[in-house]
Symmetry: C2
Subunit: 390 residues, 2 copies
Amino acid sequence: MEKDFVFHNPTKIYFGRHAMTHLKDELENYGENILLAYGGGSIKKNGIYDEVIKALKETNKNIIEFSGIMPNPTLNKMLEGVELVKKHHIDLILAVGGGSVIDLAKGVAVSTYASGDAFERYWLNKEAVDNECVPVGAILTMAGTGSEMNGGSVITDEDRKIKVGRVFGSYNYPKFSILNPLFTLTVPRYQMLSGIFDAFSHLMEQYFSDTDNSVTDYLLESLMRALIDAADVAIEDKDNYEARSNIMWISTLALNTLTGLGKSQDWEVHAIEHQISAYTDCAHGMGLAAISPAYYRYIYPFGIDKFKRFAVNVFKIDAEGKSDEELALAGIDALEDFIVTHAMPNSLKKLGVPRELLSKIADSAALGGGYKKLTREDVYAILYNAYERK
Amino acid sequence: MEKDFVFHNPTKIYFGRHAMTHLKDELENYGENILLAYGGGSIKKNGIYDEVIKALKETNKNIIEFSGIMPNPTLNKMLEGVELVKKHHIDLILAVGGGSVIDLAKGVAVSTYASGDAFERYWLNKEAVDNECVPVGAILTMAGTGSEMNGGSVITDEDRKIKVGRVFGSYNYPKFSILNPLFTLTVPRYQMLSGIFDAFSHLMEQYFSDTDNSVTDYLLESLMRALIDAADVAIEDKDNYEARSNIMWISTLALNTLTGLGKSQDWEVHAIEHQISAYTDCAHGMGLAAISPAYYRYIYPFGIDKFKRFAVNVFKIDAEGKSDEELALAGIDALEDFIVTHAMPNSLKKLGVPRELLSKIADSAALGGGYKKLTREDVYAILYNAYERK
């Protein structure tokens, strides 16, 4: 653990088949005005909405609905939420949905009592938060982003075509999150896969940086391996509780800050994907899948030891008789096999990105990188390599 | 994650070479009367005491000293602390030391405002806590017990010869813990090893139970492997920061509840060791080392699949050509090799336990067990097998 760190994650997690039974107890901790934030209404079909309404009514809450939160939630939607919180003196924002809903809820929570333009100050300029946040509680219906146990909030300004993430401190983490793996059983296959790859990418982004041998790297390897095993089961047998519950908990751990402690991180795949999805509105996890093989083939020579470890410890590849380069590439091949086997797009063409967008995306992607600091030309080369693959 | 769980760990961790720079900021959150709890005075030799006093003075605190906290801290010492807290209207108990000091601090914290006999109610009868706890902050000087990020408090009633553990909820976790791996460099080799084996045993106690394939088991395997790797380095090169920092952080994670979520656990080795140390006052980790090989050889047939996984994933034993039994036993052999190689006692005789105590220990050990519910005769057989080994 070469780098000093502070770890503080006070979100209370209720996990399992009966996790919702704790909702009423939690609601007792807050005032009567509840903003019920959710997405396109799928929670009305699968019964979750009714369960939540019942708990809210039994605890005598005033329910203010805030629905229609979209994937890649927008600045305008966030401002709509801010107005509702102010108008109704909201005591708790109850976010029911996946990462988009929870991200937006946190955005509303920190923006309501901000002085000035909160998006400008907190997302674009990364200023320190100097106002109170409205408490957020979450009921997770889709695994992947990890938003249920962290301070992340990615908001898209659709006018300026920019998707900007901000990671807030524990003052803006959900106070509690209810994680019932059964709620994820009705998620369509494509979205489930997108969530799985999103979580897998979070683990890789934290793993592929640094040359030391930190505990964090061991944890990351174990979670990557566990996620592959669980995904293989869940894709064959979509009602398998053990696999679904593992996927849900891995997704939470993959981005609750624990798995990044004491080491540097990469996040360049996410930086590139953010720009792709700003232009195309693709499913986030699928955008990550489409870029990852090309990205890692581009950077592996600069961190070859870690890529060898990845091959052996995550994909269980036998190192015997392989050169360093062969072993490292075998790990990346296995990653691409995982993507292709489960019918995820391993190229931008399969994702549906028009070739003429590559240059624009390369222009706007933030430049960083774990093993190699990328230039605009590097990003373009990666996008070019990612465009078409068999 | 077959079992439902609640996870809530709000302890704020400051980790690393410069972790102490945060102490003053934390002290600002509490009133002026500080109970400074520590052990036999080693912190006065290595400079930690002076650093703490400086921070306390610079934040204008009244310092009430509470020193001489012993390994296997006693009920009488706890009652001495309770009197000090009451008399001086203590606002924060600052525990500087290893697990014994922090365990005792939590004991004082929960007992001070309890009605009736707190040890009787909370430790012996496991009653729900119905009073406020005094806040505890910790500065860790020895890795192993994990007390710095949980609600555990093991107290020994020396009159009745019983050592009783209670795990309190997050209301009695340290509010903050300062973990500087450099502070552990002066810990004598024997105590370092004891801490390492204590942490390793925590991981095994959580691992060897259940037949499912939970994420928690993957995490446990990765932490066991990481601990072996770090121990091997630290024992050769005792000033190696990476190894020492890994050991410290693994010890914390090994018992902060994360590594036991969603599955059943064992804890029988700890139950037996508690009785051994009630009679002999041995170093806790060494007591665990002396019992573990015999215990696991006794129970492995009842959980053979997990023991096979242990051999392969933790000790990297090649499964090729081995029967289930051979593979499982090879893992336990490797565990015993680890103990012997690092000059830890692999038998009760080497630990210094007189043979005539075995029967008494078997009489008083709590009966439980992960893969096999033990009888008094089972415990005696395990102690008998653990008595003398080459």
